[in-house]
C-alpha cells in the first residue's frame, strides 16, 4: 500500500461562538459561562473580583455540529444542566461535574434523523423559564415538546416527545413564555407558506395534566418580524413576549383580546444628515432580572444596544420605554451575569466581557415611550434618533481571543533570520474588527527587571533562609572567582553578613534542614546555620576538587575530581552527616541530580548521574542499598544537565539536557528506579541546561538551549513550549510577596527577572496584531511585507468618526489594498479604492517580458458588485501596481478593464512562467505586461469541459490545477510550443471546490465549500502521457469522458473538517519551515478555517503506524461511547448500588467497568457517531482523527493501561507515538 494516510489534528480550536449560556453548572455560588464554540463546548468561570473571564475550566470536544445549547434548572435543584442539540438528531442533557471537571450526559434522547435538515427539530430550542419543559423546532413543520422532571433521587428525567407539528409552516423564532407555574407556554413566529404567507405569532400550551400540546392562540404580526424575546411573568412581571421586527417592537400578552403595544426603535443619526442607515433589525437580546425588577437589552444589526423597560402598575402595564444604551460589536448572543457583567459572543473578532457601570437610568439619552408614540406616531418616529457614542454604560474589561472569522493566512518565516520556525499570519475579523495577526510559537513573558552586572555570572540561585519561609530571601550570583549575595526586599541590596564565602565560585546554594544553608564551591562545602554557626567540609587532597553538586532539603551529593561521589544527609538536628562509603565511578560524571523528596518522606531514594560515556545511571539512596546502581540508560550524547521532578501528575520524571541539544524526559519507576517512556525533542544545536521552576503552582522544567523552553503538564498533557524571550544561561525560580512565580535568569552579563503569563496556558502562541481597514479578503506575502486586499459591502468609510469608523449604507462598497510591514507590524502603505470599486483577488507577479526583477502586484476588482439575486457588477478590472522601496510601497501603474461581461472579480490569480494567469469564470487567460494595460497572451474557455467558475489555481512546472466552484478539480498542461492549455484529468464527482493546491506533481489537495478536505491523484500513465510530447497530440486526441477530460482522478484521502470551512491551505513544517535543502524534512498541511480553526494534516509514514493510529482511534472512541452510555444508565437506573469496587456488577447484570474518576467523559456526549461525523458528506478515507487519539493522553492511568493491553503495547509507548507524530511537524 503506497497510498497516503493522514492524521488530522487541531492546532487551534475554532473560535466562532454559536451560542452561549450562563448558569450555576457546578452548583457553587459562582456562575459559569458555557460556550458552544465550533464543535467544542467550553466552560468558563469568570472571576468577579478581577473582572476577567479567565482560562477555560474545560474544553469538551463533542465531535458533532452543535445546533443550539440552553441551560435549565429542575425545580428544587441547586444547579443548572445543559441541553444540547446537534447533528446527531438527538437531544442530550449534560451535567457538569466539578470534581472530575467533565461534562457527563444524563440523558440522550433521539428525536430525528442525523444531519442538519429542514424538518429535523433542533434548529430552535426553547425552554420553559421554570425548567419544566423544552420545545425543539425545525425550520419547517416539526415541533417536539419534552417534559423535564426529576425523580425521587433528584435525577433528571425526560418524557417521550409530544408532537406539535404544523405542515407548511416555517419557524422564524421560538421562545419559552414566562408564565410562572401555570402550564408551560411556547411562542413561535411562523409563516404558513400555503396559507397566504402572513406572519403569525402562535402560542403553544403544554397541558401538564393531559400531557398534550395545544395551539392556544394565533395573532398576525408585523410581516417583517424576526425575533422573539420573553418578558418575565409570574411574580416577576407581566409575562408575554416582545416581537421585534425591522424598526419596530411590539409587545403581546397571552390574551389575544388585549391590543399589542408598539413602539419604534431609535435610529442612528450622523453628522452628515445625508448618511442614512438601513432600518435597524434586532438580532439578539437578553432579559435580566434584578431585585424584583427587570430590563431587556436588545441588539440591532448595527451593534447598537437598546434598553427596554416596563412601567408597571401592579400587574397592568402603564408604559414601555426604549432607549439607546451603548454600541458593541454585533453578537450571536448576550449573557448578563448576576455580578454585573455582560458577555457578548460577537459574530466577528474577540468576544467581549463588559462590566455594567450604570444602567442608563438618568442620562440625557432620549427615551421613546409607547404612550407618546400612541399619541403622535409620526413625530415620535421622526425624532427617535441618537448619536452613537463610545462605551458609556459598559466598560470592556476582558475578551477571549478568537480568530473567527479567519479569511486567509500565510505561513512563512518573515521575522527571524536565525531561527527557522515560521510564523502563522492570519487575516481575520469583519469591518472594524478586521485585523492581521501574527502567531509565533512560544509563550509571552513579562520582564520585571533587567540589569547589567559587572561581570558574567556562571550561576544564579535564589534561596529562603529557613524551611518555614514562604518567600526567597537571597539572590546569589556566582561569578568565576566571586560570589555576590543580594537580598530580596523593597530594594535589592548586597548582603555582606550572610555567612556565604564571597571570593569563590559557588557551585550550589541550598536551604537544608530547618534553618541552615549550604554553599558548595570547588574547595568544599560550607554548612551555615541561622545563628551563623559554620561547619565546613573539605575534600581529601588526593580526591581533587568538587566539580559538581546537587542537593535537596535533606540530602547533598558532591562529585569530586577523582570521579568519586560523596553523599551527605541532614539529620533531624540539622547536622550534616557523611555516608561512610564513597561511590567510585568508572567514567567522568557530567551531570548529577538528586530526586525530589516526596511529601511525607524524609529523603529521595534516587540519585541520577550522567556520565561522559553517554549514559545516565540511577543509584539508590535507600538506607538498605545506598549507592547501589539501579538502572542504566544509553543516550545519544553525554548529559549536560539533569533534573528530577515530581510533576503535576504525581509521577517522578527524569529530565535530561544533552550536549548535542537534545532534551529527554523519562519516567522513573518510584520503586525500582527503572527508566521508561522517553520523550525526545531536539531543541537546537546548543547544550541544554535545565531549571526546575513553578508554572501555575505546578512544578515545571525550563530547558535552556538556543531558546528557553518551558515544559509543564497542562490539561493532563505534557507541553514543551518555547518562551518568546532572550536565550538564558541559567535560571532559578524566584518567589517574593510581589512576584509569586518569578524567574531569575542570567544572559551573559545581564540579570533578568521575569514571569510567565499564566493567564492562558491554552494558547501556545505569542500574538501580535494590527488593525486592518476592511474585511480582509486575501493576502499574499512578499519578503518582509504582506499585501492585503479588504472589501466591505454596505459600508461607507467615514474619516471623522474614529470610534465606529463605518456607516452601513446598502449597496455601497469600501475597499483598500494595504501593505503591512511584518517587522514592525505597521501599515506602510495603503490605497483606498473609490466609487464602489472593491478588491477581491490579489497576486504578486514578475513579468519576464519586462527584463527586470521588478515585482508587480495585480489586484482584481469589480465595481458595484452584487451577489443576490444573481451575481452582477458594472466593471471588472485588474489593477497593476509596481512594488517599490524593497516591498514597502506600491505605485499604481495601470488598470486593465476586462473586455467581456464578467459578473464578478476573479479571485484566482497566479504568477505563471513569467506571466500572469487569471481564472475568469470558465475562462483561463494569460496576461503579460504592457505599457497602457495588461496584454492578453493566451486564453482557453473550459466551458466545454463543464467548468463554470474557477475558484482557485495552483501551478507546478508546466502543470496547472484549477478548482471549479461546481465541478471539481481539473489538471491542465501548458504546451509552450503552441501556447495552449490542454485539460487532461478531472474529478469523478462534482465538488464545489474553494481551494486547491499541489501536494506533489501528481497529487492535489483541495477543500470544498461544505468543509471537506480531500486529496486526489492523477493516474501515473496519464500523468506521463501529459508530459510526453511537445504539442500534446496524444492527449488531445483522447476522447472526453462524461463531458470532462480524458481521465479521472482517484481519491486518496477524504475527511470532513468538523463543521469549519477551510480558507487557506499551506504545505509546511511548523518547526523548521519549508527548507528544501534539508532532506529529512517532514512536511504537513496546515489549514485555516473560517471559524478560526488552525488544523493540521500530518502524513503517517509507515504502514504499521497507520494501523496503530486507526486501531487507537477506534478503541478510544469505543471507550468514550461506553463511558457515555454508562453515564446515562447510571442516571436512569432506579437502585444503583454504591460502586465501590472496580468492575462491580450492576442490578441489570451488565458490567459497569467505569467507576469514580474513570467515569469522566473526555469527548462526545451529544450522541453523534464519530465515524458518521467525519463522513458527513462523503465517507472518510485514509484519515485518522488525531484529536480523538490525543484524548488517550487524558484518560486515567487505569484506562490507559487497559487500552494499551488491548493494543498489545505499553502506555508509554502509545503516549510517545502520539506525542511524536505531533512534534515531528508541529507543537
Amino acid at each position: 500500500m503506497a497510498d497516503l494516510s493522514l492524521y488530522s489534528l487541531t492546532l487551534l480550536p475554532p473560535g466562532s461562538i454559536l451560542a452561549s449560556v450562563v448558569g450555576n453548572f457546578a452548583g457553587l455560588k459562582s456562575q459559569e459561562l458555557v460556550l458552544a464554540r465550533g464543535s467544542n463546548l467550553e466552560i468558563y468561570r469568570p472571576s468577579v473580583s478581577e473582572g476577567t473571564l479567565g482560562p477555560p475550566l474545560l474544553v469538551h470536544p463533542t465531535f458533532s455540529i452543535i445546533r443550539d445549547i440552553q441551560a435549565f434548572r429542575i425545580a428544587g435543584s441547586s444547579r443548572d444542566l445543559l441541553l444540547i442539540t446537534s447533528d446527531a438528531g438527538r437531544l442530550s442533557i449534560l451535567a457538569y461535574d466539578p470534581s472530575l471537571n467533565s461534562l457527563n450526559p444524563a440523558q440522550i434522547e433521539t428525536f430525528g434523523k442525523t444531519g442538519i435538515r429542514r424538518v429535523v427539530p433542533g434548529q430552535y430550542m426553547a425552554l420553559d423559564p421554570k425548567g419544566r419543559a423544552v420545545m425543539l423546532a425545525s425550520l419547517e413543520k416539526n415541533k417536539l415538546v419534552y417534559i423535564l422532571n426529576r425523580d425521587d433521587k433528584a435525577r433528571v428525567t425526560i418524557s417521550s416527545p409530544l408532537e406539535a407539528h404544523k405542515p407548511h409552516t416555517l419557524c422564524y423564532s421560538l421562545v419559552g413564555v414566562d408564565v410562572g407555574y401555570e402550564n408551560p407556554i411556547f411562542a413561535a413566529l411562523e409563516v404558513d407558506y400555503n396559507g397566504g404567507g402572513d406572519k403569525k405569532l402562535t402560542f403553544y400550551e403544554l397541558d401538564l395534566g393531559l400531557n398534550h400540546v395545544i395551539q392556544r392562540s394565533t395573532v398576525i404580526v408585523d410581516q417583517e418580524a424576526n425575533f422573539l424575546i420573553h418578558v418575565p411573568g409570574g411574580n416577576d412581571g407581566p409575562s408575554g413576549v416582545i416581537v421585534a421586527a425591522t424598526n419596530y417592537l411590539t409587545y403581546y400578552t397571552l390574551d389575544p383580546k388585549v391590543s399589542p403595544l408598539r413602539l419604534p426603535l431609535p435610529r442612528r443619526q450622523y453628522e452628515n444628515s445625508s448618511d442614512i442607515d438601513s432600518l435597524p433589525v434586532i438580532v439578539t437580546g437578553v432579559v435580566h432580572k434584578i431585585r424584583g425588577q427587570f430590563f431587556i437589552l436588545l441588539q440591532s444589526n448595527l451593534g447598537d444596544l437598546y434598553k427596554v423597560t416596563f412601567e408597571l402598575n401592579g400587574i397592568s402595564i402603564d408604559d414601555i420605554k426604549i432607549k439607546y444604551f451603548d454600541t458593541i460589536p454585533v453578537s450571536k448572543s448576550l449573557n448578563v451575569f448576576k455580578s454585573g457583567f455582560l458577555f457578548s459572543a460577537s459574530e466577528a473578532g474577540d468576544p467581549g466581557y463588559y462590566q455594567f457601570e450604570k444602567l442608563a437610568d438618568d442620562d440625557d439619552e432620549r427615551e421613546i415611550s409607547h404612550r407618546a408614540y400612541e399619541v403622535n406616531p409620526e413625530l415620535v418616529e421622526a425624532t427617535a434618533r441618537f448619536r452613537i457614542k463610545s462605551l458609556d454604560n459598559l466598560v470592556k474589561v476582558d475578551s477571549l481571543n478568537s480568530l473567527n472569522p479567519c479569511m486567509s493566512g500565510i505561513v512563512a518565516n518573515l521575522k527571524n533570520d536565525d531561527d527557522p520556525t515560521p510564523q502563522i499570519y492570519t487575516v481575520s475579523g469583519q469591518r472594524n474588527q478586521s485585523r492581521l495577526q501574527c502567531r509565533e510559537f512560544g509563550r509571552r513573558v513579562t520582564e520585571i527587571v533587567s540589569s547589567e552586572l559587572p561581570g558574567s555570572p556562571q550561576f544564579v540561585w535564589t534561596t529562603r533562609l529557613t524551611s518555614r519561609d514562604e518567600f526567597d530571601a537571597y539572590i546569589v550570583l556566582s561569578f568565576l572567582n566571586a560570589t555576590l549575595v543580594l537580598s530580596i526586599g523593597e530594594t535589592v541590596e548586597e548582603v555582606t553578613d550572610s555567612g556565604l564565602l564571597g571570593d569563590v565560585c559557588t557551585l550550589l546554594i541550598q536551604q537544608v534542614g530547618l534553618d541552615s544553608l549550604i554553599q558548595v564551591h570547588s574547595g568544599g562545602l560550607r554548612h551555615i546555620s541561622l545563628d551563623k554557626t559554620l561547619t565546613t567540609w573539605t575534600p581529601p587532597s588526593d580526591s581533587g576538587e568538587v566539580v559538581l553538586a546537587t542537593a535537596n532539603n535533606s540530602q547533598v551529593c558532591l562529585v569530586l575530581g577523582s570521579n568519586q561521589i560523596v553523599y551527605f544527609e541532614i539529620d533531624e538536628f540539622g547536622q550534616l552527616n557523611e555516608y561512610q562509603d564513597r561511590l567510585e565511578l568508572n567514567g567522568r560524571p557530567t551531570a548529577i541530580a538528586l530526586g525530589e523528596v516526596a511529601p511525607g518522606k524524609i529523603r529521595s531514594n534516587f540519585l541520577a548521574v550522567g556520565l561522559q560515556d553517554s549514559t545516565v545511571r540511577i543509584f539508590s539512596l535507600d538506607p538498605d542499598s545506598t549507592l547501589e546502581n539501579l538502572a542504566v540508560q544509553a543516550l545519544s550524547a553525554p548529559c549536560h544537565d539533569i533534573k528530577t521532578i515530581i510533576m503535576a501528575d504525581n509521577t517522578l520524571y527524569l529530565h535530561m539536557g544533552l550536549t548535542n541539544g537534545t532534551y529527554i524526559k523519562t519516567v522513573v519507576d518510584s520503586l525500582t528506579g527503572e527508566l521508561s517512556g522517553a520523550v525526545v525533542r531536539f531543541l537546537g544545536p546548543v547544550p541544554v541546561r535545565l531549571a526546575k521552576v513553578f508554572i501555575n503552582q505546578e512544578p515545571a522544567i525550563l530547558a535552556l538551549g538556543s531558546k528557553v523552553w518551558a515544559g509543564y503538564i497542562f490539561n493532563d498533557i505534557f507541553q514543551l513550549i518555547p518562551l518568546s524571550y532572550v536565550p538564558l544561561g541559567f535560571v532559578s525560580s524566584f518567589k517574593s510577596p510581589g512576584c509569586l512565580e518569578g524567574l531569575v535568569g542570567i544572559e551573559s552579563n545581564h540579570l533578568r527577572i521575569f514571569t510567565l503569563d499564566s493567564t492562558n496556558l491554552y494558547d501556545k502562541f505569542t500574538i501580535s496584531e494590527i488593525a486592518l481597514k476592511f474585511t480582509p479578503r486575501r493576502v499574499v506575502d512578499g519578503g518582509k511585507f504582506l499585501y492585503i486586499v479588504g472589501a466591505d459591502k454596505n459600508t461607507q468609510y467615514i474619516e471623522s468618526t474614529d470610534l465606529y469608523r463605518m456607516v452601513t449604507i446598502p449597496g455601497t462598497w469600501s475597499s483598500a489594498v494595504q501593505v503591512v510591514n511584518t517587522q514592525t507590524m505597521q501599515i506602510s502603505e495603503e490605497d483606498v479604492l473609490e466609487n464602489n470599486e472593491a478588491a477581491f483577488g490579489i497576486t504578486k507577479c514578475q513579468f519576464k517580458s519586462t527584463n527586470s526583477n521588478e515585482e508587480y502586484l495585480i489586484v482584481a476588482t469589480s465595481v458595484s458588485q452584487e451577489y443576490l439575486p444573481r451575481k452582477s457588477c458594472t466593471k471588472v478590472s485588474l489593477r497593476t501596481y509596481i512594488i517599490t522601496d524593497h516591498g514597502s510601497s506600491l505605485q499604481f501603474v495601470h488598470s486593465t478593464t476586462l473586455d467581456r461581461e464578467f459578473q464578478e472579480a476573479p479571485t484566482s490569480l497566479i504568477a505563471f512562467q513569467g506571466k500572469l494567469l487569471v481564472g475568469l469564470g470558465s475562462v483561463l487567460r494569460v496576461y503579460d505586461m504592457g505599457s497602457k494595460q495588461l496584454l492578453r497572451k493566451a486564453e482557453i474557455d473550459l466551458a466545454s469541459y463543464s467548468v463554470t467558475q474557477v475558484s482557485s489555481m495552483d501551478t507546478q512546472g508546466n502543470r496547472i490545477v484549477i478548482g471549479d466552484l461546481r465541478q471539481g478539480c481539473y489538471l491542465l498542461v501548458y504546451k509552450s510550443a503552441d501556447n495552449i492549455f490542454i485539460p487532461f484529468c478531472d474529478d469523478f464527482v462534482a465538488r464545489p471546490i474553494t481551494l486547491v493546491k499541489f501536494l506533489d506533481y501528481d497529487t492535489v489537495m483541495a477543500t470544498d465549500r461544505w468543509g471537506n478536505f480531500f486529496t486526489l491523484r492523477c493516474p501515473k500513465d496519464v500523468s506521463e502521457a501529459s508530459d510526453e510530447d511537445k504539442y500534446g497530440i496524444h492527449i488531445k486526441a483522447k476522447p472526453k469522458i462524461l463531458y470532462g477530460t480524458m481521465s479521472k482522478f482517484t481519491l486518496v484521502n477524504h475527511q470532513f473538517l468538523g463543521g469549519d470551512l477551510a480558507t487557506s491551505l499551506h504545505k509546511t513544517n511548523l518547526l523548521t519551515g519549508t527548507d528544501v535543502e534539508e532532506t529529512n524534512n517532514y512536511e504537513c498541511v496546515l489549514w485555516t478555517g473560517l471559524q478560526g480553526t488552525l488544523g493540521l494534516m500530518i502524513p503517517i509514514l509507515t504502514r504499521s503506524d497507520q494501523e496503530f493510529f486507526a486501531a487507537l482511534q477506534a478503541i478510544v472512541l469505543s471507550y468514550l461511547d461506553q463511558i457515555a452510555k454508562q453515564c446515562v444508565i447510571t442516571n436512569n437506573q432506579d437502585d444503583m448500588p454504591q460502586l465501590q469496587n472496580d468492575f462491580s456488577e450492576t442490578v441489570a447484570g451488565s458490567p459497569m467497568p467505569f467507576t469514580g474518576s474513570d467515569l469522566k467523559l473526555l469527548g462526545q456526549g451529544t450522541g453523534r457517531d464519530h465515524l458518521k461525523y467525519r463522513s458527513y458528506y462523503s465517507p472518510v478515507r485514509s484519515t485518522v482523527d488525531g484529536d480523538v487519539c490525543e484524548l488517550y493522553l487524558k484518560f486515567s492511568r487505569k484506562i490507559k493501561s487497559q487500552i494499551a493491553k488491548e493494543l498489545g503495547r505499553t502506555y508509554w509507548d502509545i503516549e510517545k507515538k502520539i506525542m511524536d507524530i505531533r512534534s515531528r511537524v508541529a507543537y
Binding site: 452543535i66 422564524y172 409563516v191 444589526n301 471559524q1091
Partner: protein, 81 residues
C-alpha cells in the same frame, strides 16, 4: 392491494415533506429543493457565517432573508409549473 399501496404512499407523503407523485409539477419539485438548500445553509453555522460576511449582513439578517425565501422559493404557484 393497489388501494392499500396508495394509502401507504399518501401517508408517506404527509409524513415526509418532498415525497412526490405523478402530478408533482416541476415548480413544486424545485421549491422543495430550494427549501432544503436554504434550510441547510441556515443550519450549518459556518456556511451561514461565510455567506453573511460576503453579503455584508449580520447572520440573523441573512437567516431572516433565507427563511423569507423559503416561503415561495420559485415564485407564486402556477398550475403547470
Amino acid at each position: 392491494m393497489r388501494l392499500r399501496a396508495g394509502q401507504q404512499f399518501e401517508q408517506q407523503q404527509s409524513r415526509f415533506i418532498g415525497v412526490g407523485n405523478v402530478n408533482t409539477t416541476k415548480q413544486e419539485w424545485q421549491s422543495n429543493v430550494h427549501r432544503d438548500t436554504y434550510a441547510s445553509l441556515i443550519g450549518h453555522p459556518a456556511t451561514l457565517e461565510q455567506l453573511a460576511i460576503s453579503l455584508g449582513l449580520s447572520q440573523e439578517e441573512l437567516k431572516l432573508q433565507f427563511i423569507n425565501k423559503m416561503i415561495q422559493p420559485c415564485g407564486p404557484v402556477t398550475k403547470d409549473g
